[in-house]
Symmetry: C2
Subunit: 328 residues, 2 copies
């Protein structure tokens, strides 16, 4: 009933594939101790998030090991970004089915290293176990955010503008491409498989205190803006035609208008949605230019019960089903 | 492909059962934000550990929800104890099979609260997802340890004594009782299902700097003392007859001498094994009395290649199979 690893002992797997990722980081204690030991710099808060991803539930089982590693990392670093935190460390609990080929684990570990590189975060520990069920990964990510500058969901004010980074809907459309429900599209597939967390822009946004509230778009644009509304006790109105689309997404929506709903509610974007006072508009625009990231104003915060309305091109509220409120 | 929770939305489950556990702890942001935000006190290191427990692999599936919660918590707080850290926060990623009864989740959450109470740690965040596989829990535990006083596995010195806390083998024997391979025994079953992490004693041990190395006994006494040997590049000799047994364990071993091997290699003890200079012997004895915890000297650290030898009652090395080196 104790740990049994897919091939060889847990110790061997960790030593061979995961320890190199911690190389040079004293905090990991070589991944050989019971726990990692970190310093937290003075003047900073510690920000912690955990996400579990199960094969077939949270990611397509036929993605490459490297794609899965990018997704596991991206989803978690995106949560840190939403709080304006700089990534520092990740801890991975990997559940591998017995007979997972060692080559698969090697490719996954390599992908993990690549996905973390440049983020500031190192793999500092974890657990590798076998499961009779599907492959699953739980990543816990730790970051630091300057005191009194942490972004939260709860600060949105009536009259604030609502912004998003990047383009919306690519992840959900990419999933439809990868499952054969839409024609293959390499750009959209990559946007689904390898989300890029916006922590560099988010850190600057937090540092300058331009934003009043922030969330990462994982459940879908309408639902996640809804999370800001609930936490801030305000309402939001978004204009569908202002929501920024990639060229691939625009072509698909042009050909099939029903896909606009997928874009607005589909999830897996890992872009940021944030609110800011109108007086910060030009500063935010300048920051976006400086960081080389598209940032678009898509709506407004209003008084009222927590609710997100999305208006179509002639100003009528769209029916998004449950997209604005519960998980799909 | 986004989160679907066993009953109702993830949000409902979290709100109803897990949020109350974070009540009053501002760091949790009500479990409603993307991440938790913590202060780390000056003069302390942050200690982090992650353990994944899969039903049928790491715990018996027919344990009560509360027992499973105690086990998930105990295993992780035991890792913090091994480093001399005070528990501060836990993050839980729960994978529930679809159709997990809400009453089960409620009982599990209640057990989680009970297992955490008195530890100093609060549930500050997590993720609740469905899985087509077995139930599984990944807990990440955060603690604080005073600077320069963190216990590690790597400080054992030639000539040091080897100690253990509590009694050894109860967990492994308890598992045999629970699976019908040994007669039912409520004491041993509880020792298996509800490990008590020794963080109070470990904190004092770290604070006074009495120990040179420390590990928690999860893989089995011989294997875990072996981990100290590997990290410290020393050898250890333990005397089987000095290993402290509970009354229940002693009776079983008396009736069947082969069970001594189970005791020495079986794992799931969640007691501490630590090394200390002989000059600290009386201080350690006094500390054990003060904290009301049994502490027993069971062996010595020697020069040589990393290896743990266990001697029988007439001083012959025992054959423990792979028990001293790899997971069972």
């Amino acid at each position: 009933m104790t740990d049994q690893s897919p091939n060889g002992s847990e110790f061997d797997i960790i030593k061979r594939y995961f320890m190199p990722l911690a190389a040079g980081d004293k905090a990991a204690l070589g991944l050989l101790d019971d726990a990692a030991v970190l310093d937290v710099p003075q003047g900073y808060k510690l920000v912690v998030t955990t996400d579990a991803l199960v094969a077939g539930v949270h990611f397509l089982e036929n993605l490459s090991p490297a794609d899965i590693a990018y997704k596991v990392v991206g989803v978690n670093l995106s949560d840190l970004a939403a709080m304006g935190a700089s990534p520092r460390a990740v801890f991975l609990a990997a559940q591998f089915p017995k007979n997972t080929p060692e080559t698969w684990i090697a490719a996954f570990a390599q992908g993990l290293g690549a996905a973390l590189s440049g983020s500031g975060a190192t793999l500092l520990g974890g657990d590798t176990v076998t499961t009779p069920g599907p492959m699953a990964f739980t990543l816990t990510a730790l970051g630091f955010a300057p005191l009194r500058k942490v972004l939260t969901r709860s600060g949105a004010k009536v009259g604030d503008d609502v912004y998003v980074t990047g383009t919306i809907g690519d992840g959900a459309l990419g999933l439809l491409c990868l499952t054969g429900k839409l024609p293959a599209d390499a750009f959209l597939a990559k946007r689904y498989a390898r989300p890029e967390a916006r922590f560099v822009f988010a850190q600057a946004l937090a540092e300058h205190m331009f934003a009043s509230a922030c969330v990462d778009i994982s459940d879908g644009l309408a639902a996640d803006v809804g999370h800001i509304c609930e936490a801030s006790n305000v309402a939001a109105t978004l204009e569908a035609q202002r929501v920024p689309l990639s060229d691939s997404a625009r072509d698909l929506v042009k050909a099939d208008k029903t896909l606009l709903k997928t874009v607005l509610t589909g999830g897996d974007d890992y872009e940021l949605a944030f609110t800011a006072a109108p007086k910060n508009a030009s500063s935010i625009e300048a920051l976006a230019v400086e960081k080389g990231l598209r940032v678009t104003r898509i709506g407004t915060i209003l008084e009222g019960a927590p609710k997100t309305r999305v208006l179509d091109e002639i100003g009528r509220p769209m029916d998004l089903g449950h997209g604005g409120y519960v998980h799909l």
